[in-house]
């Protein structure tokens, strides 16, 4: 595997990603064989036609040439056919790999106990599972297969030359090393350089270009557009200089094959002379010695691109390793735990639960806790409103209470047990977080509600939609509950979306419901009414009286009198009082 051994510092992340691709060996072998057959056809065509022409010059009986003539014609056809086969087999292996990789990533993400998934931005998740997984598919197509093929073909070339002339074989070996080892090294260096440039200067260029496009109106009114464009130009020049440093090694890599041809052709011509005069070879063999060096490096031609791809694959694999974490790597074909699949399955639904926070420090990093030393006692049926300035840790608190984010210190207890000690399924059955940016699936309205409870009846769904003020919306839909929603709710308005998410919370009827800004994007009047219904213990139109409800809100004035209010921040400070 010259492409892979030639490149230094093999990366553990890339090796792990390769194993998560679960490439079936037999299929990979078939793809490599087909690729060897393709390149082998071309090489054999060059060899046999060189033999044919020089042998023909000795004017043997035509019958002696029949085999060569038939072989030349057959090889002329076989290359195209093998080429098609090779591309089909290679892409099939790569696409299978991508499917396995994505499934393994999904499983690993779903199984992660810590907060990786919670803190991941949406675009990032898509980029990892989309582009980076695809990059590793390309890794198979452009790096793994060409690397293996180049080894096989190098051996085939040497085996062809060895019986003709040992000196010519030695020169050919040197030429192959030049084309198959030095060229990929240069290409790999170029790829790393330009990757660095992309990471550093190009992201600055991108950020500035986006800023100008986003803020064009304000920049024009302020008269600062020209200044901003000049700024972009200078950042772009810095990027250009960084990219330019990668151009030379890339060009050098492209020069390796012509130089190898120079070496091999000169060596073979010189070796052929002595051989012919000594009578050590037939005319046909001399013809092969003279002409074959020109056709011996086709496999090596793909290697600089393979090295470039390997550098990119490695970067992608490292990003994926960050995503799934280093300790709990995706175990290839981890068995799926069918028993704990949908909620409402094996884990019984309790009707009420007591949630307590004891000396809780919460935050995304131990260096900067968002809140410190919080004690909360939420017996069954209690109501709590959480308010505070933006960024004070309201969402962090909810994620920690829901067991989706481990506390930095202290603990969250469910019915007296530390959340971390309980099976996740049991925690989820008791405590449910309804995030502000929860996902609406591209399926029917009914299925989008059913995601909270598999056994949902239509009547309940309709009642919940009515409770959140969507009774007038449903009749406007073409197929009622069976209407398909666009991807991530793009076909519903912001207010409708918010109410659908609230309807999920209503349908959950779980013991503890944590809601993040459930009335944002609703008009003030409707929003305040819903907030009141959620927080007033006597109002069971939305949630049963036995359920504990914690609501984060931006509207302290809409909190019903007598509700406990947790004031957070600024900083990690907090206090609880009644509204």
């Amino acid at each position: 595997m010259s492409a892979r051994t030639a490149v230094p510092a093999s990366s553990p992340a890339l090796r792990r990603a390769e194993s998560a691709l679960e490439i079936p060996r037999a299929r990979l072998l078939a793809a490599v064989l087909a690729a060897c057959a393709t390149l082998g056809s071309a090489f054999a065509l060059a060899a046999v036609s060189a033999y044919l022409v020089t042998r023909a010059w000795t004017m043997p009986p035509v019958l002696d040439l029949t085999v060569a003539v038939v072989a030349v014609r057959a090889l002329g056809i076989s290359r195209g056919v093998f080429r098609w086969l090779e591309r089909m087999l290679t892409h099939d292996v790569a696409l299978r790999g991508v499917v396995s990789l994505r499934t393994n990533l999904f499983t690993a993400l779903a199984a992660r106990r810590d907060d990786a998934l919670t803190r991941l931005r949406r675009g990032e998740l898509l980029a990892r599972l989309g582009d980076d997984a695809q990059e590793l598919g390309d890794h198979v197509i452009k790096a793994v297969v060409p690397g293996l093929v180049s080894v096989v073909m190098a051996v085939a070339v040497l085996v062809t030359f060895a019986p003709l002339s040992l000196p010519a074989t030695a020169v050919m070996l040197a030429a192959l090393v030049l084309a198959s080892v030095l060229a990929p090294l240069a290409a790999h260096r170029a790829a790393r350089l330009s990757e660095q440039a992309v990471l550093t200067t190009r992201s600055a260029v991108t950020a500035q270009a986006l800023e100008i496009l986003d803020d064009a109106t304000a920049l024009r009114v302020d008269g600062r557009l020209e200044e901003a464009l000049a700024d972009l130009r200078s950042t772009q020049s810095a990027h250009d200089a960084a990219i330019d440093r990668a151009a030379l090694p890339a060009a050098v890599a492209a020069t390796a094959v012509p130089l190898a041809i120079l070496l091999a052709a000169t060596g073979s011509v010189l070796a052929a002379g002595g051989l012919w005069l000594d009578g050590g070879a037939s005319a046909g063999q001399i013809g092969m010695l003279l002409l074959l060096p020109l056709s011996s490096f086709e496999a090596a031609t793909a290697l600089p691109a393979a090295a470039t791809q390997r550098a990119r694959s490695r970067a992608a694999a490292e990003r994926l390793a960050d995503l799934v974490g280093t300790s709990d790597a995706p175990a290839p074909s981890a068995p799926t735990d069918a028993a704990s699949a949908p909620a409402g399955g094996a884990v019984p639904h309790p009707r009420s639960a007591a949630l307590r926070a004891v000396g809780l420090d919460a935050g995304w990093s131990p260096q900067s806790p968002r809140l410190e030393a919080l004690d909360l006692d939420l017996p069954p049926g209690s109501r709590l409103a959480v308010v505070g300035p933006s960024g004070c840790g309201k969402s962090t608190l909810l994620a920690t209470l829901a067991g989706l984010l481990d506390p930095l210190a202290g603990q969250v207890e469910l019915d007296g047990h530390d959340l971390r000690a309980l099976p996740p399924a049991q925690v989820r059955a008791a405590v449910t977080l309804f995030a502000e940016d929860a996902h609406l699936f591209a399926t029917t309205v009914r299925e989008n509600l059913r995601v909270v409870r598999g056994d949902l009846e239509d009547e309940e769904a309709l009642a919940a939609l009515a409770a959140v003020g969507l009774e007038g919306w449903l009749p406007t839909l073409p197929h009622g509950l069976d209407t398909m929603l666009g991807p991530d709710g793009t076909t519903v308005s912001g207010g409708e979306r918010r109410r659908l998410l609230l309807a999920r919370a209503v349908l959950r009827r779980g013991p503890v419901l944590l809601l993040d800004e459930p009335t944002e994007h609703l008009d003030t009047e409707r929003g305040d009414a819903l907030l009141h219904a959620l927080l007033a213990p006597e109002d069971d139109s939305l949630v049963p009286a036995t359920s504990t409800v914690v609501v984060v809100t931006h509207r302290p004035e809409a909190i019903p009198r007598g509700t406990a209010v947790l004031h957070l921040g600024p900083g990690p400070a907090h206090r609880i009082e009644e509204s």
């Binding site: 056809i77 089909m88 496009l213 064009a216 920049l219 009114v221 030379l248």
Partner: protein, 572 residues
């Protein structure tokens, strides 16, 4: 890029845009050559290098053939022909050098062309105003960031090979014709078959592969839907189970992709088939004539070396096909953008806004699904606070942009009415003279780079320290200054401070500027109660100073401080 990666990646990230475009384009965009100097020089250089490489290929073939024939026929050692040997080495070395220059130059040309076009795209889009982004905002940002980078594989991979196909292929064919007309005839017959078969295969597969691509995109979006919903499923405790759906969807996606590729790869098969078959036919024809004694060995060997070289550039062009379509798509998208003329500036200096009113008369602007706003009527009187309200998507911000002459309405007009009652169309006004009197605070504040002090002092040249401190105190910026100091570096675009702090700084700047008109676009979005109070106080202060304030408001407390309230509505 191979056909497969494009096809299999359809939808990943760039979405439908990555689907192969079937629109036929010239392989070189004439406008790219005309307007981008780096691209033009790149093509010229590649033609020259192509000629050099053709000469090298032909010399190599002739010298090897001569050395071989001398050896076999006359038993003349190559070692005894140092001139010929030197020529062979020189030809091969010059070819390597030409490739080095070609690649080095190609990377440089790509870097220069990308930089130039990106600058023009961003500059032109900004000049076009908000509408330049409307309807294709995502396309535009994608074009300016990643889209235009597709020019690199096009210029580095495709264009040099195309130039080689235009030089090496015909010149080698000519050399073969001079050496052995019959071989040239075989090549001349098969060469035209390549484009013919490629087009044939293309038209046979086009409908089929497009259907399959559409199918793949659907599957891909379903897969993404599951992935995007994973955090939601997890918080509901339902994250286990969908992985089998992920695998099933992935498998269907793969099957679909392979179905599409089966046909896409046919074209590369045809190309390879014709190229190698032709070389084989030439070899057999030469061989049979040599046996009959109808041909010399030297030309036979030379033709045998030259025949594959005729087809090699064509095969490379074929394998770079996708680099070319992606690159050309980016180029034509860029030039389509440049074709949009920005609105012409007016010539009349704007009247003094301290005493002028602004008005919209029946203004409608086309939106994605109708008009927003629709027939907006409003008057902003000098020295008063006017609130624009309406549901989100009603076109409040758009109405404001029309009012300031940033955007051309589909119907109606924006007027500036001076103190003596003369109404002039905003389009006739010199925008700079109008905008110099306006402070605009967008939803996300836009700040120049610098320190807290320099950014604030920049708002009014010659401002005193006391005035700076007063403005800071009025907007709550003094807290930020107490924490970070006056010399805190904000970085570019105020990236060094939080959004709330940026908002305060922008408000303090608005207070300091002498501009008679202050436009605030949802100034309290994402602010808590205390910060909201700062904005309300600021608006009152601006009114006391006799300035005109336009505030785009969502919340009732903002509307309460306004003297005039105008509701903006969209078509339904």
């Amino acid at each position: 890029m191979t056909a497969a990666t494009t096809a299999a990646a359809a939808g990943s990230g760039a979405g439908p845009a990555t689907a192969p475009r079937r629109a036929r384009r010239a392989p070189l965009d004439p406008r790219l050559l005309r307007e981008v100097r780096a691209a033009r020089r790149h093509v010229v250089r590649n033609v020259a290098l192509g000629l050099v490489q053709s000469a090298c290929v032909i010399v190599t073939a002739l010298v090897i053939a001569r050395l071989g024939a001398d050896l076999l026929v006359d038993r003349e050692l190559p070692q005894n022909a140092p001139g010929a040997l030197a020529l062979l080495v020189a030809a091969l070395a010059v070819r390597a050098g030409a490739i080095l220059l070609e690649q080095r130059g190609a990377h440089r040309a790509a870097t220069a062309a990308i930089g130039e076009l990106r600058g023009r795209i961003v500059g032109h889009a900004a000049q076009l105003g908000p509408r330049g982004g409307a309807g294709r905002g995502a396309d535009l940002t994608a074009l300016a960031t990643t889209g235009i980078e597709k020019l690199r594989p096009y210029l580095v991979g495709y264009v040099p090979q195309l130039m080689l196909a235009l030089t090496v292929t015909p010149l080698c064919l000519l050399a073969i014709a001079l050496l052995d007309p019959l071989s040239a005839l075989i090549a001349a017959f098969t060469l035209p078959l390549i484009p013919v078969f490629m087009i044939l295969v293309g038209t046979l597969t086009v409908g089929r592969s497009e259907r399959l691509l559409a199918d793949m995109r659907t599957l891909w979006s379903q897969l993404l839907d599951l992935v995007e919903g994973l955090p939601t499923l997890r918080s509901l405790g339902r994250e286990r189970g969908p992985e089998s759906a992920v695998r099933a969807l992935g498998d269907r996606h793969r099957a679909s992709a392979m179905g599409s590729l089966r046909y896409a790869f046919l074209s590369s098969m045809v190309l390879e088939l014709l190229a190698t078959l032709c070389v084989a036919l030439i070899a057999v024809s030469i061989g049979l004539r040599l046996v009959g004694g109808d041909m010399e060995l030297a030309p036979a060997l030379a033709v045998l070396v030259l025949a594959p070289e005729v087809y090699q550039p064509l095969r490379n062009v074929g394998s770079q096909y996708h680099a070319s379509t992606d690159g050309l798509a980016a180029v034509s998208a860029a030039f389509a953008l440049f074709d949009e003329e920005p609105a012409a500036d007016g010539s009349v200096p704007a009247p003094d806004l301290r005493a002028s009113a602004l008005a919209l008369r029946g203004v409608s602007v086309r939106s994605r699904d109708g008009e927003a706003p629709q027939r907006a009527e409003l008057v902003v009187r000098p020295g008063r606070v006017t609130a624009l309200t309406g549901p989100s998507g009603a076109g409040k911000t758009t109405a404001m942009q029309v009012m300031l002459g940033l955007l051309e309405p589909a119907a109606g007009r924006a007027e500036v009415i001076s103190a003596d009652g003369v109404a002039s169309d905003v389009r006739a006004l010199q925008r700079r003279s109008l905008w110099d009197q306006v402070t605009l605070l967008p939803q996300r504040p836009v700040l120049p780079p610098g320190t807290l002090r320099s950014v604030l002092a920049d708002a009014r040249p010659g401002v005193s320290r006391a005035e700076l401190e007063a403005a800071a105190a009025a907007t709550g910026l003094d807290q930020v200054i107490a924490e970070r100091g006056w010399e805190a570096d904000l970085g570019r675009g105020g990236g060094g401070i939080s959004l709330g702090e940026r908002q305060r700084l922008a408000l303090a700047r608005a207070l300091l500027t002498p501009c008679p008109l202050v436009v605030l676009d949802e100034p309290t979005a994402h602010l808590d109660g205390a910060a909201e109070q700062v904005v309300l106080d600021l608006i009152r202060r601006l009114r006391e100073e006799g300035r005109t304030v336009v505030v785009i408001a969502h919340r009732s407390r903002l509307v309460d401080v306004a003297d005039d309230v105008v509701s903006v509505e969209a078509s339904r």
